[in-house]
């Protein structure tokens, strides 16, 4: 079993830096799958890094099966039978699975030897993985399974003592998530303690009987997740009771955005194939699907970053707009919240004012070729007022904003000026529960005010919770949309899995 007693770790190197982990106690018995819940910045990642041997605690002690545990390096962690699966794959995308595992096993292991070991290990747990397949061509779920087996293979005697999973279910379709759950259970049954970190309580419900909830680096509580319920767990994580999102029922109006057989070739990424779509005023249309199936290309085509081949491919309030540029479409009332906030939605090196100018430059802010800075200042203030950011930060660089503040800023900038159509692309990606709820409420309020909202997200729960209708994107094609009342996560999940 694993035991942590008062483990603390500062954010930085200096005395007096804030504590990322502040006296954390944790006990996981052998064979137990223990959940670790917390928002971004609650200390989960720091704890994972400590257990992986990537960081050392400043205070406290750790015990594994009764023996003190000091981990100077990832190699030391592996030698003690600790395996860590990070959010990102550690296997190289351009190699075959056997080659990637051979690299991970190190000390001159040949790919053929790795393939043999993979065969025996996967037979032991009843998993099937093709050693000659390129890692790049494997689905997210298969990669996650491979990572789990990698941990077992690296452990001394192929017996893991502790398995740490960082957000194991993130972005997996339900059947794949199930296969992963089964494998985690099978590994736990070999006498291994499992720590399963997650941001969303849904991810630990199925696996764990006990979870430790972290808040601001401290243990908030230890409980049974099913007994506590998602609402209570969210409250414990955020430290405040958050009201559920409210939605006003309303009737959708006329079609505002229509795609008519939109096809677009693409050199890099996914080509779009004959996409039809009707988005009406006052409704939220959700586009679900695993990332990388053409969502980014679809959003680029709608926003005008990529031009369609014919003007009639895209109608904005009935006006053929397929060949119009980004700025023209924006003037027609189309606004876009990009998925990649820091790289695409703003310029990190610029101030908030300059970033407000980024998409508001054609709103009468220029006189005699010169930018009217007083007017821009007022516009920035009004954006920041709208979303509750302190106005004295207008001259600060956006790089100093947190992820949640940044998304609020973009929300205010894009939605503050009476839009007709809003494309929200993975709007709560990487945000904590509280911040995600604010964004969700803002989108629902928009729809209630008669704005047409296109929600593109790989978070199935988000799509189902917000949308009136749902369509699924697979390999560059968009399915017929169905009313959200006539479908379920399970049905959509099967569709997603068929596509993968």
């Amino acid at each position: 079993m694993l035991e942590l007693r008062g483990v603390s770790r500062r954010v930085g190197q200096r005395e007096g830096d804030a504590l990322a982990c502040d006296g954390i106690d944790l006990a996981i018995s052998t064979g137990e799958i223990h959940g670790l819940l917390g928002e971004n910045g609650a200390g989960k990642s720091t704890l994972v890094r400590i257990l992986a041997g990537l960081a050392t605690p400043d205070a406290g002690m750790m015990l594994l099966n009764g023996a003190p545990l000091t981990l100077a390096s990832p190699r030391a962690a592996r030698a003690r039978g600790i395996g860590v699966v990070f959010q990102q794959t550690t296997l190289f995308a351009g190699m075959t699975l056997a080659e990637g595992l051979a690299v991970a096993l190190g000390s001159g292991t040949q790919p053929t030897a790795a393939a043999r070991l993979l065969a025996t290990t996967s037979a032991r747990f009843g998993v099937r993985l093709d050693p000659d397949r390129l890692v790049r061509s494997m689905s997210a779920g298969q990669r996650r399974l491979a990572e789990l087996l990698r941990c077992v293979m690296q452990a001394p005697g192929h017996m893991l003592r502790l398995l740490v999973l960082d957000e194991p279910d993130a972005m997996l379709a339900p059947p794949e998530a199930e296969a992963l759950t089964d494998l985690v259970r099978a590994i736990a049954a070999t006498g291994c303690a499992v720590l399963c970190c997650a941001r969303r309580s849904e991810d630990v419900m199925a696996l764990c009987v006990r979870v430790t909830v972290l808040r601001a680096g401290r243990v908030a509580t230890i409980c049974d997740p099913r007994e506590a319920g998602a609402e209570r767990l969210a409250e414990l994580m955020t430290g405040r009771a958050a009201p559920a999102t409210r939605r006003a029922r309303h009737r959708p109006g006329a079609a505002v955005l229509q795609l008519r057989g939109l096809s677009l070739p693409c050199d890099q990424g996914m080509a779009l194939h004959r996409i039809d779509l009707d988005l009406r005023a006052g409704e939220i249309l959700g586009i679900a699907g695993a990332a990388g199936h053409g969502q980014a290309e679809l959003v680029a085509a709608i926003s005008g970053v990529a031009l369609a081949r014919r003007p009639d491919d895209i109608l904005l309030e009935g006006v053929p707009s397929g060949r119009l540029g980004v700025a023209q479409r924006r003037r027609a009332g189309l606004r876009h919240m990009p998925a990649d906030r820091l790289d695409c939605g703003v310029v990190g090196e610029m101030t908030l004012s300059e970033n407000a100018f980024l998409t508001c430059w054609d709103m009468g802010l220029i006189r005699r070729f010169t930018i009217r800075r007083d007017k821009l200042e007022r516009l920035t203030r009004s954006i920041m007022d709208l979303v509750g950011l302190p106005p004295n930060r207008a001259a600060a660089s956006v790089a100093h904003l947190s992820g949640a503040e940044l998304q609020r800023f973009i929300l205010g900038r894009e939605l503050g000026f009476a839009p007709r159509v809003v494309v929200a692309e993975r709007p709560t990606w990487g945000l904590g529960i509280g911040a995600a709820r604010d964004i969700h409420q803002a989108l629902l309020d928009l729809a209630a005010a008669g704005v047409a909202v296109l929600l593109v997200s790989d978070d199935l729960d988000e799509v189902l919770a917000l949308s009136d209708r749902v369509a699924v994107m697979t390999e560059g094609q968009l399915s017929q949309s169905v009313a959200v009342t006539e479908t379920s996560a399970a049905q959509l999940g099967v569709r997603l899995a068929d596509a993968a």
């Binding site: 540029g325 790289d343 695409c344 610029m350 980024l358 220029i366």
Partner: protein
């Protein structure tokens, strides 16, 4: 007896500033550097690399010489503006080639412009030397022109939509596409603008001491000036001072041109080495 380092330093750094004539020469030497450097610096802010100022300058000088020839001895008030205009147009035209290749076929504009500058010098080699003899000394007027260009460049970069587009394209190309700014338009603007300025410098530079290698020195001036117009002016003056001092050192102290060229080189290396985050942003950030 070993040479006196103090005297050497004096000759290299301060001697060019000591006399009114020396100052005039310094300014005349710095003007083409300022003009070329401004163009290069502005383009670099948009992550557009114009390494071919040398060739654009040669074309500018040749065009100015051609106009002077045509005007002949009947040179009137219009001759000088016509020469400058022709020079700018010639530099701009030569810079249009990398712009076409970049926007049409994604050819790297830095490489293309650099190679084209060798082509230009080969094509125009002889004429460039003679153009200088025909041009009049440009002293004060040239400096006023360079200062005006620097002021305009600053205003453009800091206060206008065009400058904003340029900076966004340089810092975050994806954000530029998201905002609706065309990268191609910015590439065109940067190459034509810096080419035109280099051509202009060609008309003015003809006959000054720096004549060969102005394009390369201007590149140093642009980076030494941290890609800021005011910085470019200061760096150009410094580099002009050092090159004039080096010439004196060569005449009086027996140092070769290669030896004295070490000083500006060291300056640039020191600056770049301690420069963890340059104005162009991404290049340095992706360590």
């Amino acid at each position: 007896m070993p040479p006196d380092p103090k005297a050497g330093l004096w000759t290299l750094v301060l001697a060019p500033l000591a006399t009114p004539d020396g100052l005039a020469l310094l300014v005349a030497t710095a003007v083409p550097l300022i003009l070329c450097g401004l163009g290069i610096a502005m383009a670099c802010r948009a992550n557009v690399w114009n390494l071919g100022a040398e060739g654009q300058l040669a074309f500018g000088a040749a065009a100015a010489g051609l106009v002077a020839d045509l005007a002949g001895p009947t040179a009137g008030a219009w001759t000088m503006p016509a020469m400058l205009l022709a020079a700018a147009a010639a530099g701009l035209a030569w810079a249009a080639i990398p712009a076409v290749l970049r926007t049409r076929w994604s050819a790297p504009e830095g490489l293309v412009s650099l190679l084209l500058s060798y082509a230009a010098v080969q094509l125009l080699g002889d004429q460039r030397d003679t153009a200088g003899a025909r041009a009049e000394p440009q002293g004060e007027a040239g400096f006023v022109l360079a200062m005006a260009a620097a002021l305009l460049a600053w205003w453009l970069l800091a206060r206008t939509l065009t400058g904003f587009r340029l900076r966004v394209v340089g810092l975050a190309p994806r954000a530029a596409a998201y905002a609706g700014f065309s990268t191609d338009a910015v590439v065109w603007l940067c190459l034509l603008g810096s080419g035109g300025l280099a051509g202009l410098a060609g008309a003015i530079a003809a006959g000054t001491i720096l004549a060969p290698g102005i394009g390369q020195t201007a590149l140093v001036a642009a980076f030494l000036g941290r890609l800021h117009p005011a910085g470019v002016v200061a760096a150009s003056l410094l580099l002009a001072d050092l090159s004039l001092g080096a010439a004196r050192l060569g005449i009086g102290g027996g140092a070769t041109l290669a030896e004295t060229g070490v000083i500006p080189g060291l300056l640039l290396i020191c600056l770049l080495a301690c420069n963890r985050r340059t104005q162009t942003g991404r290049v340095a950030n992706d360590r």
